[in-house]
Amino acid sequence: MTAAAENRIEEDVWIPTCCGQCYCMCGIKVRRQNGVVTEIAGNPDAPSGRGGICVKGIASSHLLYDPYRVNYPLKRTNPEKGLGVDPKFVRISWDEALDIIVEKLRECRERDPRGAYFQATTTQASEIRFGVIGFMKGFGTPNYWVSGGGLHCGNGAHFMNGIMHVAWSIIPDFAHCNYALNFGCSKGHGAGHVAVQNATQAADARFRGFKNIVFDPFQSAQASKAHEWIPIRVGTDGAMALGLVNSLLNEHGIYDAEYLMYKTNGPYLIRPWDGRYMRDKATDKPLVWDLVDKRAKVHNDDSVTRVEYEDEAHEVALTGSYNIDGVDCRPAFDLLKEHVKRYTPQYVEEVTGVPAATVSRIAKEFGEAAEIGSTVTIQTSNGPKKIPKRPVATHFFRGTQGHVNSGWTCLSVDMVNHIVGAADTYGAAFGLGAAVGSGYEATGKPYQIPYPCPDGLLVAKTWVYDHVPYPMRVPKPPTRLDLHDMFPTSIYNAFVITSPRWEEILERFEIPYKPDVMINFGSNSVMTMGNAEAVTENFLKKFNFIFSFQLYVTEFEEAVADIVLPDACFLERYTPAVSFPSTFSHPQGEDDWGWSIRQPVVEPLYERRDFNVVMLDICRRLGIHGRYYKGLNDSIGIRYGGEMDEKYRLVEDGSVEHSWEDICDRLLKDRFGEEHGLEHVRKKGVFTWPKKKEDVYWKWFNPSRVPIYFEYFIDSGEQISKLWDQYGGKDFFDLDWSRFKALADWYPCPSHTETSPEYDMFAFYWRAVMHCNSMTQQNPYLDECSQEDPYVYAIQIHKDTAAEKGIADGDNIWLENPQGHRVRGWVALTDGIEPHHVAVAAVAGHWGNYMPIAKGKGTFFNDLVEMDLPHTDPLTFNQDICCRVKIYKADR
């Protein structure tokens, strides 16, 4: 820099905080020169990121200063709502805005507080856990959801990974894994979870010779870096995984008997007539068959349990038939082994398009790479211990689970790990975010060691919701607007709330109130869920009043918001807990624990105000702040690993008004001691402490088992269907109860059963590294980068397919689904896609008038996503995001 330039710089500081362009929330440091944010880099002190950062994070200064940000409260003056309606927003003062909002909320509360509905974006997940959760509890409403989040990306996966790994997701132990099967996710390749470290770890692993086998319909970033790319038909991963399980068990005879005996319910004896566990009469505990003593024992009898690998125990039966009190029972594993026989390589080929020989080969390679029987010795806090080394893993996420077979597909893909004992041990598939931890030494928090239920199965100690994924909740008569209380296997659903008969349904299910006030924190649900018109007309327009905390006026605000509040962005606010609860933002592996915070890098500009500060204000005005504090006190226990000490609990009787900074400070002090409050943690932006090895490779240190046989699903299905029939739910939806069963299966999506030859292509979406869902297209740096890329704003089509259809590179085409919804975009021809597929990136194709850079870029895929029952997984209510389309040229 020239001398002249240097003279102009009076202030030049780097402030540590956390990125908020996606939910990975990497630790960053932000350079402020003369009060202006000028540069953003990774924070080497933070385990989340470890000095790394991605293209979106670096580009954030344009988010902070974008002249199109919402900077003042806005009020809708056009009473009409809907897509394409001009809201005629006018600027109002904060006082006026809050007066209106508080008035509406007060009225709502008088009618029925449950009429309030909180919608939030997953992108700011760490903020949700305060303002949203506290408000719901304080105000008294159970209605909440994260729109496209969960619906597209979590219903199936989080539930299943919670059961199998007490974690939000799974990921290979990149540091030691040698061979991984990647199903429909970009972990380690630009998107997905803990994106930056995983990218570092995946690159290190590649360098080391790690083999990643990628199942993806197109040459995604991960496929392009893979040892082998296996093009697969969308929505068929479950069949593929069960084919691998079959091939391992019945073709190659490879499985980890030790693991299955002591760490799964594989040896649990199943009674033949109803598929339930055979239980001990005295204790009601499930039984296993001791092969040494030749008799049945309860599952946790000392003689048949091995908590640690070096423990000794009798072998138990995994196969065969055993007579107990005159009943011939078989171990669950034996049933599974027989059950998967139908997934022959030939059948798998028919369903997935992957050659039968490849299925067998991959199973064999995977089985051999698992090195079953091998061990390593690690240094635990109790000295050196031997544990199994299983350097293989399957992992999956958004692509795999976005289908009507979501739940079972997730379980099937993970099942492959459990067959070879490759779970939460050295080199294997890990739960992610880092799930198990004994806490910071001085305080023992956050404490998140899972424990076994009476049946021996794994129960999470901490979870991001109030309810853990297991034991399964008992379905209750519904009180929520989406009937969620009835459905313990799902997190959210769209088919109820976007049904044109929603109001009728609410009546039938005796919900005594109506949708009333919607509070939106950030989500652009008009674009991120599915067909925009259905979302707007059937769901959003049913609310009397909608106010939204936003950075931009998005398509959502344009269509339905009555008031838009200018939120502070992640660079302008405090958040006391970012990397905990450990979901997507905390890396797995041996690196330290790190509790990251956000802190303002600049004071909120213009009239922007932090969501969490405003929510406190609203609650004070409503006079519910005491209840709000109580809500926070209560939820912290399960979410952040341990109840708050009396000393730090927020005062619940309303006699004290806690500021947001005070709340942040208390939480930190409670977790890490009086001297480690906000002032202390601000300095590095993160509080770190060492991770114990036995917390990393926890499988053989924990007394719990995981199911490979889902006995309790049967009960759950019976309970839910009974309740459903009581209300006559059948008159609205014909739910398929047969999916509630104990053994995994694959089920086709509507895209697989479509018979019209016109709709000859499968359509799906993927994530580009420079975009996070729907917001980043407005960032001009990221927009420019996207234009540099051949595929990000394009529709990818195989060049032979295009030639057959007379479509040329750069042509403008329509994609039209069988329901008549269509979207358009320009074509990029490639060899890197399965010839019957078309691929679209991100949540693009904006049409809103207030994000001019985003407007018109890319293709709005979600208009092709139908949110009805046929496109919903009956087990988890995950959305089906693949569809059949016909493609044809658009006239310009």
Binding site: L83, E784, G810, R822, W826, H846
Partner: protein, 323 residues
């Protein structure tokens, strides 16, 4: 059209530089023709008289175009700093020298009686000889400048200077023909000769351009540029048909008929043809410039090219909200 098709193309040099190269060519070409004619003893012929008048001003205007294209024109004085390696620096000196000589020659020839004496003729021959060297240098330089551009494989061939030199002669000649009618001394005979010369030069240019393009077709990157130039309507119609073919035929017609008709009726025809030829010459340079593309980079069996940012990405909007 594919919105990303033009990513490899250079976009920095276009009309301004084309005009500079074009005028440099005209100046050099016209002067060279004039000076050679002078040596051939035709000091009073139209070619000589008119040609000498064109050299200096063409270069002067050309330099203005170059200046306009410079990012920082006030630093143009630095342009000659590195003649050891840079063709722009060499060009700077060649053109400067040429402009001095052309101006000197013009002054001596047109405004003084120097040419009448033997010693004067001696001086003129020295100036003329040096001028011709500089004129050829100028004409060639415009091509060598491009030929020395390592970043644009299409230009990196000896054919470009050849094409440019011939085109410089053609355009110089056409300029003379365009202005000649205003010259009192022009005769039908002179016109006839000039037409024939023009036609011959055009044939040479056609040969040169064909040679250039077929050579370009031999390697991948230049081939793409060549294909692109052949797909350019202005090149095929504007340059090849209207700028070469039509003037060629016209010149032959003029050659055959000028003696038998009134000189004045030839003027619009020949001048028109010459004008077409000139426009063609400008188009030629602009086409060669804008079809210049960066080389494809390769490593490990992959080919890498740049993608142009779609100027008009609008197609993304899906189901348009009802208006």
């Amino acid at each position: 059209m594919n919105p990303k098709a033009n990513g490899q193309l250079q976009t920095e040099w276009s009309w301004w530089i084309a005009a500079y190269l074009f005028l440099g060519g005209i100046g050099g070409g016209a002067y060279a023709i004039a000076a050679v004619n002078w040596f051939l003893g035709e000091s009073a012929s139209a070619s000589t008289a008119v040609g000498l008048w064109i050299g200096f001003p063409a270069l002067l205007i050309g330099s203005v175009f170059l200046l306009v294209d410079l990012g920082t024109p006030r630093r143009a004085v630095l342009a000659g700093m590195k003649p050891g390696t840079s063709w722009i620096a060499r060009g700077f000196w060649i053109i400067t020298a040429f402009m001095v000589l052309a101006l000197l020659h013009l002054i001596l020839h047109a405004f003084t009686a120097v040419g009448q004496t033997a010693s004067g003729r001696m001086i003129l021959s020295v100036v003329g000889a040096a001028g011709i060297v500089c004129a050829v240098g100028t004409m060639a330089y415009t091509g060598i400048l491009l030929g020395a551009s390592k970043g644009i494989p299409f230009w990196r061939t000896g054919a470009v200077p050849v094409v440019f030199v011939i085109s410089a002669l053609v355009t110089g000649h056409f300029t003379i023909m365009l202005i000649a009618p205003f010259y009192r001394g022009v005769t039908a005979e002179a016109v006839q000769t000039m037409s024939l010369e023009a036609a011959a030069l055009v044939v040479l240019e056609v040969l040169a351009i064909l040679f250039f393009l077929q050579a370009a077709f031999k390697t991948p990157d230049p081939r793409e540029s060549a294909l692109r130039i052949l797909r350019k309507r202005s090149f095929v119609i504007g340059y090849f048909i209207l700028g070469l073919a039509v003037p060629f035929v016209t010149m032959l017609i003029v050659y055959r008929s000028v003696a038998s008709t009134e000189l004045s009726s030839y003027v619009p025809i020949a001048a028109g043809a010459a004008l077409l030829g000139l426009v063609g010459g400008l188009i030629l340079r602009q086409s060669v410039l804008v079809c210049g593309a960066l080389p494809t980079l390769n490593i490990a069996g992959f080919e890498f090219r740049r993608i142009a940012r779609p100027k008009d990405p609008k197609p993304g909007i899906g189901m348009l909200p009802p208006q």
